[in-house]
Symmetry: C2
Subunit: 96 residues, 2 copies
Amino acid sequence: MLVVVTYDVSTETAAGRRRLRRVAKVCESTGQRVQKSVFECQVNEMQMEQLERALLAEIDETADNLRFYRITESAHLRVKQYGVFRAVDFEGPLVI
Amino acid sequence: MLVVVTYDVSTETAAGRRRLRRVAKVCESTGQRVQKSVFECQVNEMQMEQLERALLAEIDETADNLRFYRITESAHLRVKQYGVFRAVDFEGPLVI
């Protein structure tokens, strides 16, 4: 199945920025980055559980937000995308 | 159906930051903000078309990225979320 992972990681502190890098690294090991904080992962139930566990180990639930969307709609319907995906320095600090 | 809208809007220029505010405004009129650049919208096909058209009118397809995910999985399976959703000043400039 396709699972879309989205996250908001608080980057106000050095620890937050470290978490953001780690969350991205975990997602990159499983899926395809499609936006700054959005990954598309083709996984089975076991891989999904592993991904979930790995991400939960990285985030700070008192400061960050992590969401998983399971998508079972047929491929031509489920995802629509427009515009470019710009390769920026995702490892750099995200200042808000 | 539930449609998840995610976007990356380039905020390097004043025009980009204006686009980001407008995109957020369009999404807010239809859905629920769940992360900085992620909205969940309960829409029918007609509303979905309207939303798509309104967002396409705002983004710059040479600089931004906009994605729509249709989610038809049953409610208790389709979305999982962890952590907090922090209310920050989304209207302020997003500096990357």
